[in-house]
């Protein structure tokens, strides 16, 4: 339950940070989350899943009134990917970005 709550919280933070600052804020948020809020071994995973969920939220919000399927198909095609795989690539990219930043920011010792 606490894990799900953490994922949800991080998702909201990731979405807000992306909206304000852009994609590069994700590793910053993940590192801060790890250093300040939690140094649990599972935090990297929480950040990764949370970041992907945050971007998924943003995409879902847009998809409700914009032709995201067309973007996925056309831009995915540029990367030789089907539309669904381009969505997957987007979420995988941000998940890895957050998870690796969190893992790298983890202190060598915990209190």
């Amino acid at each position: 339950m606490r894990g799900a709550l953490a994922v949800g919280m991080f998702a909201l933070c990731a979405a807000a940070a992306t909206a304000v600052g852009g994609w590069w804020t994700i590793p910053v948020v993940a590192a801060v989350w790890m250093r300040v809020l939690s140094r649990d071994a599972a935090t990297a995973a929480i950040c990764g899943i949370g970041a992907a969920s945050g971007w998924a939220l943003l995409l879902a919000w847009d998809a409700a009134h914009e032709p995201l399927d067309t973007v996925a198909r056309r831009v995915g095609g540029v990367f030789h990917l089907p539309g669904w795989a381009f969505v997957g690539l987007t979420l995988l990219f941000v998940a890895l970005l957050a998870a690796t930043a969190a893992a790298a920011a983890r202190s060598g010792r915990v209190p």
Partner: protein
């Protein structure tokens, strides 16, 4: 073992290696996100759901109401978008209208604008990097860089104002554009758009001139003479079309010109020497290949002659059902996504109300109609580029050239090619004689004079013409149109129809021919003037009641023998159009629309009977008989269901290979040259030199080609009864994205028509075709219909990116909204442009 208290720090298992691995992975991801790797663009700006490529969806549609500011506007300007996403610009002055056009074009086609200008200015490397260096070098070696600067410096008055206003409009959009609206292509290339200027509009004009007017007829002739002698070369690349169906009506019926094709002769020694000295190096030719779909393609290559071109025709009221003049136009260009055309309307009360298409980058409605008349162009195909062999003081680094016994200084110009980061990728010195740019080819230096480099006045002419109220006033206004020379067709509500081949046509000294490489050591070989407007091919209200042009030789040489060009495209489309026009004295707009995609082929009508007759000379050959029966039963129409069209197009290259075996592979005479040979069955050109023990005659070659074409078709598509020969399964058009990205392209489009039909295309894989189709009825109220293959938006996320493709493929047209007032236009989106 010591006990651990809660206050002690505890090393986490695998902490350090894990963190190091994570840091390394993070570093790689950040690098990939910010810089990309190899062909992968920076992923961050692409995948970001708020500012990345996903954000393109947000700007895919036009907002119902929006406002923007443009510096220099004299008053508020309204832009109403109709249900086809066409901007209708209602402005208080023409300069305001051009500002608005610049703004809306940038909003819809920003990347295309930038790319076209860079292609015309030879600055593609700044966007695409070193991969575009050869294309840029070829562009600047032609003198296009210097010419653009000179043309823009010479622009005055209305022309200058329109260029500056348009630039202000584009730049206003750039200033207002958010990161979310940045076109996809810039994200993929990790670049930003450059600001617009009048120079960049002129570069777009030059790029179009390059597409339309560059030709190598003098070098083609030289190569042919070096292979088969001067007399044969003259016949293979004739000064006049072997079939006369001119734009300016002459005899009223097509006329086949009696031509004797002399046998292949000994190589012309002078041509051989000259050719050895000027033969382009392979690298120089390859440098003409551009990343753009059609930039640099040698124009009017003989093999392209039946797949490219443009049409326009007009019918006088006496031959229309409604009693009003009708006009149709369909320019053919290499097709791209976004389309080369952008549809727009400008209205300035009391001055102009014009609807039509513009080329992104130009402040003009190039083809279209106003409240009183309609107009359309086809390319004139005249010879506008000559070359001179110069004698220079130092072949390695020439600084002077010999002219009438005096050494004249060469004007050098340093051309720097910059990379995307502003770094210098290469430096060239382009040299200029008084004639134009010089280029080293082989051991010689050639200078080139090309009317495109000296052009001016076209924008001013089309602006004045758009304001005209009658066909004669329109033609008067277009008299200053210099380049690219076009066959201008106009029809008005008063019932006048008129055509005139308009532009700057040089007069050559001596024999007056431009299909020869000239001696550069004397001014006596220079151009000595231009044709007067009264000498241009033209016709107004001819007795036949219709006019048509399809890039054919504009005048019968019996009416005007002076040199205008050589190796003219065979008039197959003109023959078909005029055949249809002669056969209908109650033409309607619907008929005109249907004719624009008529699949009938005058070329097939000419050749098929000879093939069928040749097959009868070998009655024992059942395969040949079967192939001939398929052709004999063919209605010579390239319909989707046609199987014989596939066979015919397989046979023709076989005929060509056997016929022109005496010529080097890069020389291919036009298809019209076949005609006199078809009626000369014993001509030695028919002999296939590859068969040494046999001397072929016409019917031998045609039979062999028919058999080989049949066999090739079976190999490629199976036996005919399997259905694989259907034209719809064989014939495809590819409309590529301007960067050639497959997922942003429309490939494998199946349409009727083929080589030399009214809507021509290559057999397969070609990217050329009808780039805009328009029909206008000049009744009490002017009505227009049109479409082009693509859509108004350059945003691939928009439904307007390619929404017209289906209409275009089916040969249908959409009604063009042209109500007199803004109130009558049911606008789907409104853009209000205000002063800051």
């Amino acid at each position: 073992m010591p006990s651990r208290s809660s206050s002690e720090t505890t090393p986490l298992p695998r902490s350090r290696p894990t963190r190091l691995a994570a840091a390394a992975a993070l570093g790689a991801l950040l690098w990939l996100g910010a810089r990309g790797a190899g062909p992968i663009p920076p992923l961050g700006p692409v995948l970001d759901p708020v500012r990345g490529a996903w954000a393109l969806a947000a700007s895919a549609g036009l907002p119902a109401q929006t406002e923007a500011r443009i510096r220099g506007l004299s008053s508020d300007t309204r832009v109403l978008y109709d249900d086809r996403a066409v901007p209708h610009i209602f402005a208080a002055s023409e300069t305001d209208a051009w500002r608005a056009l610049g703004y809306v074009t940038a909003r819809d086609r920003l990347f295309q604008l930038d790319l076209q200008a860079r292609a015309g200015g030879g600055t593609l490397t700044e966007l695409l990097g070193a991969q575009a260096l050869r294309a840029d070098r070829a562009t600047r070696a032609l003198g296009m860089g210097r010419a653009a600067e000179r043309i823009v410096a010479a622009a005055t008055g209305d022309e200058r104002q329109s260029l500056e206003a348009y630039a202000a409009g584009v730049n206003a959009y750039l200033d207002a554009m958010t990161l979310r609206e940045l076109p996809l292509e810039y994200r993929l290339l990790d670049r930003r758009p450059a600001r617009w200027s009048p120079l960049r509009s002129v570069q777009v004009i030059l790029r179009m001139q390059h597409t339309l007017t560059r030709n190598d007829v003098d070098l083609e002739h030289l190569r042919a003479a070096a292979a088969v002698g001067e007399a044969a070369a003259d016949a293979l690349f004739p000064l006049h079309s072997p079939i006369q169906e001119p734009i300016q009506p002459s005899t009223g019926e097509p006329r086949q010109v009696p031509v004797t094709v002399p046998p292949p002769g000994a190589p012309d020694s002078a041509a051989t020497v000259a050719l050895a000295e000027v033969e382009p190096e392979p690298e120089a030719e390859a440098g003409l290949v551009s990343p753009l779909a059609d930039a640099g393609r040698p124009h009017r290559a003989a093999s392209d002659g039946d797949a490219l071109g443009s049409n326009n025709w007009a019918v006088a009221p006496a031959r229309t059902r409604a009693g009003a003049a009708l006009l149709a136009g369909d320019p053919h260009l290499d097709l791209t996504l976004p389309s080369v055309w952008y549809e727009a309307r400008i209205q300035v009360p009391g001055v102009v109300d014009a609807y039509g298409v513009t080329i992104p980058g130009l402040p003009a409605i190039l083809l279209g109609f106003n409240r009183d008349l309609a107009w359309s162009f086809t390319n004139s195909e005249a010879d506008l580029m000559d070359r001179w062999i110069e004698r220079v003081d130092d072949p390695a680094r020439p600084s002077r050239y010999l002219l009438d016994g005096t050494w004249v200084p060469i004007v050098p110009r340093l051309e720097a090619y910059l990379g995307p980061g502003g770094d210098t990728l290469a430096l060239d010195t382009v040299r200029f004689s008084h004639r134009g740019p010089m280029r080293r080819l082989g051991a010689r230096w050639l200078s080139t004079r090309w009317t495109a480099l000296e052009s001016s006045g076209a924008l001013g002419a089309i602006h004045r013409a758009a304001r005209a109220r009658s066909a004669s006033a329109w033609l008067d206004a277009m008299t200053t149109w210099g380049s690219p020379p076009q066959n201008l067709l106009v029809a008005d509500r008063g019932g006048t129809i008129a055509v005139r081949t308009t532009g700057r046509f040089p007069i050559r000294a001596g024999a007056g021919r431009g299909d020869r490489v000239h001696d550069g050591t004397t001014r006596a070989s220079d151009w000595i003037g231009d044709w007067a407007a009264s000498e241009w091919p033209q016709s107004t209200n001819p007795a036949q009641g219709f006019l048509a042009s399809a890039n054919q030789e504009p005048q019968d040489p019996r009416d005007q023998p002076r040199y205008l060009g050589a190796n003219w495209p065979a008039p197959w489309r003109a023959l078909r159009i005029n055949h249809l026009l002669r056969g209908d004295s109650a033409v309607t707009a619907e008929t005109m629309r249907r004719w624009q995609t008529d699949p009938g082929s005058a070329r097939a009508e000419h050749y098929v009977p000879y093939l069928v007759r040749a097959a009868r000379t070998r009655p024992a050959d059942t395969t040949l008989a079967h192939a001939a029966s398929l052709l004999a039963a063919w209605d010579r129409r390239y319909t989707l269901a046609s199987e014989a069209a596939t066979l015919f197009e397989a046979v023709m290259p076989e005929v060509t290979a056997r016929m022109w075996d005496e010529l080097p592979a890069e020389i291919l005479p036009g298809t019209g040259v076949f005609l006199p040979l078809l009626d000369d069955p014993d001509n030695v050109w028919w002999d296939d030199r590859r068969t040494r023990d046999r001397v072929e005659r016409r019917d031998d070659v045609l039979s062999d080609a028919l058999r080989a074409g049949y066999a090739a078709t079976v190999r490629a598509h199976g036996p005919p009864e399997t259905g694989g020969w259907r034209w719809s399964r064989v014939h495809h058009i590819d409309i590529d994205h301007v960067l050639g990205l497959p997922s942003l392209s429309a490939q494998g489009i199946s349409t009727s028509g083929g080589p030399s039909t009214i809507s021509p295309s290559s057999t397969t894989g070609g990217g050329e075709g009808s780039s805009w189709r328009m029909v206008v009825e000049l009744g009490p109220t002017v009505r227009g219909w049109g479409t082009y293959p693509g859509g108004q938006s350059g945003n691939p996320a928009s439904s307007r990116y390619d929404d017209r493709l289906g209409t275009w493929m089916r040969g249908e047209l959409s009604e063009l909204r042209f109500p007199p007032t803004a109130a009558e236009l049911r606008a789907s989106s409104v853009l209000l442009l205000r002063r800051p």
